[in-house]
């Protein structure tokens, strides 16, 4: 499994989270217990001392002192942690065989103190108290001590337990996390299995939305819409290829056929001349188709208009009309230009688009009628619409009119120089400028146009 497997990463993250949680909780728990454990020895020492205090204070004779000694001895035997020392000037009133170390300690301040005895790993918690002289007894220092070893050991084993528990917990969290992630990711795996079935030419399939977790809904929807676009592009490409082949086939047929016919027997020089000229016409046609397709292909590949100059669109339309002047006169069609706007354009490209738009309009306009060119500034873009009176175009055709080789009337194919790429080139030029094309058919007029960013 690859290192960036989601399940592995999730289980790693679970482990990390578990580590963090255990650290925090364990730390807090440990601090709390440590605090309580620290108080315990003092509490015990205090308890023992309070039992003995009044007796020690009261007894001032050696006879009485024997009783104290016996009691202290009993207490130390009962609880091995406890130690008692009594230090005084008179050995009779002493207990616990205090050595020099103890004596030195006993001379220190009274109260709760720690005593480190040689031979012990852990200190004793010691309550040092002072008793004034009574009867025959000299003043005493009374030491109630408790060995803290057991407390320290408790604390130590708590720490060990916490750490090992945390380790087990982290391990469990990561293993269970991995398992949970695997279960959680199951829909994804199913999805990818389903997606694997969708390869060309079987692009018509879609990922199914039912029984998918909502988190994947959006992904599946956008994946499906991408598939829609891919399928459209794919089928457009397929039909484009077929159209190209078809479009090239008829000039090629003419070329091959008439050359073969010419060569089958001896012909006059005039005849050969004729054939060559006709061939040249067909070849020019091929050249123009290929050039147009190369232009469309470069636009498809995302080629952009680069030499942009801010220009008056009415002026560009006027220049285009100047070029088309003879055509318009021949067709007895007039053109009226309304409005003006300014936009950054690559003039040669825009001119080409305008020629194609206007030429398209002229071809569908009867003599004596008027074509309108409307230039509008729409705020965020400018639009140039070429409107001619003409038969209404069926709604089904409208969105396809700017597609390559698309013809409303299929029988009108191969009509002279018109190889059905004119409007496709208009669209390509719009795209190269970051614009769009539009077409409307209403109230007996048809409008083809282009929107350009300004």
């Amino acid at each position: 499994m690859s290192s960036n497997s989601i399940a592995l990463r999730l289980s790693g993250m679970f482990a990390l989270v578990a580590l963090l949680v255990f650290l925090l909780i364990g730390w807090a728990l440990y601090l709390q217990v440590d605090k309580s454990l620290g108080l315990l020895p003092e509490a015990e020492v205090d308890a023992r001392y309070s039992v003995l205090e009044s007796a020690v204070q009261r007894y001032g004779t050696p006879e009485h002192w024997v009783k104290i000694n016996a009691k202290l001895k009993l207490l130390s035997e009962e609880d091995k942690r406890l130690r008692f020392w009594v230090v005084s000037d008179n050995p009779v009133y002493e207990f616990g065989n205090p050595d020099a170390e103890i004596r030195a300690f006993a001379k220190g301040p009274t109260g709760m103190r720690d005593l480190n005895l040689s031979g012990h790993d852990y200190p004793f918690r010691v309550l040092v108290s002072q008793f004034p002289a009574k009867d025959q007894r000299p003043p005493l220092r009374f030491l109630t001590a408790i060995n803290t070893e057991t407390f320290w050991q408790t604390q130590h084993s708590l720490l060990t337990a916490l750490i090992s528990l945390a380790a087990v917990g982290i391990l469990l969290a990561s293993v269970l996390g991995y398992w949970v992630a695997r279960i959680g990711l199951k829909p994804l795996k199913e999805l990818s299995l389903e997606a694997r079935k969708l390869t060309p030419p079987r692009l018509s399939g879609r990922l199914k939305l039912t029984s998918l977790p909502p988190e994947l809904d959006q992904f599946v929807t956008s994946f499906n819409s991408t598939l829609d676009r891919v399928e459209q592009a794919y089928s457009r490409l397929e039909s484009f290829n077929a159209d190209v082949a078809h479009e090239l086939r008829s000039p090629l047929t003419n070329l091959i056929g008439q050359t073969q016919v010419a060569l089958t027997r001896g012909r006059s020089a005039e005849h050969y001349f004729e054939v060559l000229q006709s061939n040249l016409e067909e070849l020019e046609r091929l050249r123009s188709i290929i050039n147009d397709m190369l232009f469309l292909a470069s636009a498809d590949q995302g080629s952009k208009a680069t030499q942009l100059t801010q220009s008056s669109l009415a002026q560009e339309v006027a220049k285009t009309l100047d070029y088309l002047d003879f055509i318009l006169e021949d067709a007895q069609v007039q053109v009226e230009v309304r409005g003006d706007a300014s936009a950054p354009i690559e003039t040669a490209h825009l001119r080409r688009a305008l020629i194609n738009l206007l030429h398209n309009a002229v071809q569908h306009t009867s003599p004596g009628q008027l074509i309108h060119v409307d230039i509008r500034d729409e705020g965020d873009h400018v639009s140039i619409g070429v409107t001619n009176p003409g038969a209404p175009i069926d709604g089904e055709h409208l969105p396809k009119l700017f597609e390559r080789f698309y013809r409303v009337d299929a029988s009108r194919s191969n009509s002279g120089a018109n190889h059905g790429l004119g409007l496709a080139i208009v669209k390509a030029i719009a795209l190269m400028h970051g614009g769009t094309v539009f077409v409307r058919s209403e109230d007996g007029v048809n409008t083809f146009g282009i929107n350009l960013p300004c």
Partner: protein, 225 residues
């Protein structure tokens, strides 16, 4: 005028050689880059026609090596009409650029543009047989009769007359008269020629404006043989 053709595609090299020789150029042909570069450096050529896709050293390589020592004008030919290619070719010192498929007439026109020395005197008056054109006052007469031409018709006539005897393709006519340098569906040039012909040749026995089918148009006096 001597021209070097560096082109590995045999048919292309052959017809260029033949065509340009017939146009009055002395032509040498090299079939590969290294050989072409060597010839280009050794001899003095008016123009070098250089294909981009060549075996051995490619067209850009030849151009770079040539430019290091010589400034012979170069026309690049390429099958990939891609804007980047064009920019690259021109940046590395090509003087002109033609994408395949190109027309032979187009190539000849570019060749002439490169070899025509700057400062050539543009004539102010041209005559072809009994046609007389004054480019300053923009008047044209035939057999002493003033031709009633529109401004565009006069521009078309003067473009043809300046290159009398030379076949001009529709594309180059559109470029010279209307500054439109791409193919368009509209057959503007045909319509314009038809109109000019009606006024120029219509009333006269001796025709001056001829159509070369599939290639273009030529203005010349073809006297009865």
């Amino acid at each position: 005028m001597r021209v070097l053709i560096i082109e590995d595609e045999e048919k292309t090299a052959d017809y260029l050689h033949r065509g340009l020789t017939e146009q009055g150029y002395t032509t040498d042909v090299a079939r590969e880059g290294i050989e072409g570069l060597h010839m280009g450096l050794e001899n003095e050529y008016a123009v070098i026609i250089l294909d981009v896709m060549l075996p051995g050293l490619d067209g850009y390589g030849v151009l770079r090596a040539l430019r290091a020592r010589k400034q012979t004008p170069v026309i690049m030919l390429t099958a990939r009409e891609n804007v980047d290619d064009r920019i690259r070719g021109l940046r590395e010192g090509a003087d002109d650029y033609l994408g395949k498929p190109f027309s032979f007439l187009e190539l000849v026109a570019r060749l002439q543009a490169l070899t025509r020395r700057s400062g050539g005197h543009e004539p102010v008056q041209i005559s072809v047989a009994d046609l007389w054109i004054d480019l300053i006052s923009r008047k044209a007469t035939r057999a002493g009769v003033r031709l009633d031409l529109t401004a565009k018709e006069f521009s078309l006539l003067s473009v043809l007359a300046r290159r009398q005897g030379e076949i001009l393709s529709k594309t180059s006519i559109a470029e010279m008269v209307w500054d439109v340098n791409f193919d368009s569906d509209a057959n503007v040039v045909e319509v314009a020629i038809k109109r000019l012909r009606a006024k120029l040749d219509g009333p006269f026995e001796h025709k001056l404006l001829h159509t070369i089918r599939g290639m273009g148009y030529v203005l010349e006096s073809r006297r009865v043989e």
